[in-house]
């Protein structure tokens, strides 16, 4: 996957890089596809974010994330399932994470569109959100009502992976176009 932190930020060049990647990668057909695109995860108030930082932290990751969903659709076998995993802090914890939140919300909407697009061949598309990585710099105590679970923010290889497995499983056969917040109840 093209790396927004290292890629050429020129619009035409980056678009070309993303297109070539999408069309040149041939991972075969699979019943389960997990899409976990890059997130900048750098904290800064939006008013202090420079256009160059915006490009690296939002525009470039967003375009490659969108392409990753397109690739996932091309890779997923009929009747399979796709899960998008995105970093998304709860609204109360979102200050300083404007680019992360905007990219996550946009890609989740794209996943919902993909659910409609691919549903005709039985492919389910859902999303899981996590605040594991964005919670690293949160001040304590947390604003507002504490998360329902004291294990907040959870762990990628436990709570997040568990939610992904659940959505890929046959038991979730009637679930598509949905978002699961695997953040221990922090997001209401």
């Amino acid at each position: 996957m093209p790396d927004p932190a290292a890629g050429d930020p020129d619009r035409e060049n980056w678009a070309g890089t993303v297109e070539r990647w999408r069309h040149d990668v041939h991972p075969g057909r699979h019943e389960a596809v997990v899409v976990a695109p890059f997130a900048a995860l750098e904290e800064a108030p939006l008013a202090a974010t420079t256009p160059e930082q915006w490009r690296r932290r939002l525009e470039m990751p967003f375009s490659v994330g969108f392409a990753a969903l397109q690739l996932a659709a091309a890779t997923c076998a009929d009747g399979g399932a796709i899960v998008l995993v995105v970093d998304l802090p709860s609204a109360l914890d979102a200050s300083g994470h404007a680019t992360t939140v905007a990219a996550a919300e946009g890609l989740m909407a794209a996943a919902r569109a993909l659910a409609h697009s691919e549903g005709g061949r039985g492919v389910r598309v859902n999303a899981v959100t996590t605040s594991v990585r964005t919670s690293a710099t949160l001040s304590r105590p947390l604003k507002g009502t504490p998360p329902a679970l004291t294990t907040f923010p959870g762990a990628i290889d436990r709570e997040v992976a568990g939610a992904v497995r659940a959505l890929l499983a046959p038991d979730a056969g009637g679930v598509t176009g949905q978002v699961l917040h695997a953040d221990c109840g922090r997001t209401p």
């Binding site: 993303v18 375009s63 969108f66 905007a102 909407a109």
Partner: protein, 250 residues
């Protein structure tokens, strides 16, 4: 109270309707547009409607032009109470299967809807702090439900809402409010979409409880004007659906 606001994407449709609603209240309305002929004409309409219409050339995807826009407003008007970001990509009404969207097309949607919002917000913030002003973003119900044939448009509209929620958190302490409206109104873009596909017209109109599309100036504009006014001084981080009840998610 006379307020000064700037509206992007106000050459026609919803943007023009919002500007008109503000002008009817006697406000000073800056029309930020790329095409001077259209922008000047709309500014003149605002003056004729009882407001003070002004035009400023601005491509909202260009950092230099947005910075220049805010300098111009600051120098000419001395104040800014509100920013309305309505501009979207010219591809917004185009249907395209998900897999056929190019990176260039996605980038175009992103540049106008989201980067434009970022630049307008960033450059207007100092002026808005001075007036405890407000930002309103025109999002869309397309960003709620997911549109198979307009995935990039829906994605950037959802991203706008995310950005608005964060800005509301970051700017609240400074007294600046940030909200969205999600209109479903008659517009040139809507008309083009209906002409291309009559089934779209039947589908869209059939799900609206109020049985019609909204009027940009009489239905959508007043809601935006409310959000920009002191009457909404305790409203921030919200999305108001102005869609006749069409969207079942809010």
């Amino acid at each position: 109270m006379t307020r000064t606001v700037v509206v992007s994407g106000a050459s026609g449709g919803v943007g023009r309707g919002i500007a008109l609603a503000c002008a009817r209240a006697g406000w000073e309305v800056w029309i930020a547009a790329r095409r001077p002929e259209e922008g000047e004409a709309v500014a003149a309409e605002m003056s004729a409607a009882g407001g003070i219409g002004r035009f400023a050339h601005c491509d909202v995807t260009d950092p230099g032009e947005v910075a220049a826009l805010m300098r111009q407003i600051g120098e000419a008007s001395g104040q800014l109470h509100g920013v309305v970001h309505n501009a979207t990509s010219g591809r917004s009404s185009l249907a395209s299967p998900f897999g056929e969207l190019t990176a260039e097309a996605v980038d175009d949607h992103l540049a106008v809807a989201l980067t434009g919002l970022y630049l307008l917000a960033r450059e207007s913030f100092p002026l808005l702090v001075g007036t405890q002003g407000a930002v309103v973003v025109t999002t869309s119900e397309a960003g709620f439900e997911g549109k198979a044939q307009r995935a990039a448009y829906g994605a950037v509209k959802a991203a706008q809402r995310g950005l608005v929620r964060v800005l509301a958190q970051e700017w609240g302490p400074a007294g600046v409010r940030v909200n969205c409206v999600a209109p479903l109104a008659a517009s040139p873009a809507m008309n083009r979409a209906f002409e291309r596909d009559p089934a779209t017209a039947a589908r869209v109109l059939g799900r609206i409880p109020l049985g019609r599309l909204g009027d940009p100036a009489d239905d959508v504009g007043p809601v935006v004007r409310f959000l920009l006014s002191d009457e909404a001084r305790f409203v921030t981080s919200q999305t108001i659906m102005v869609d006749g009840g069409s969207c079942v998610i809010s």
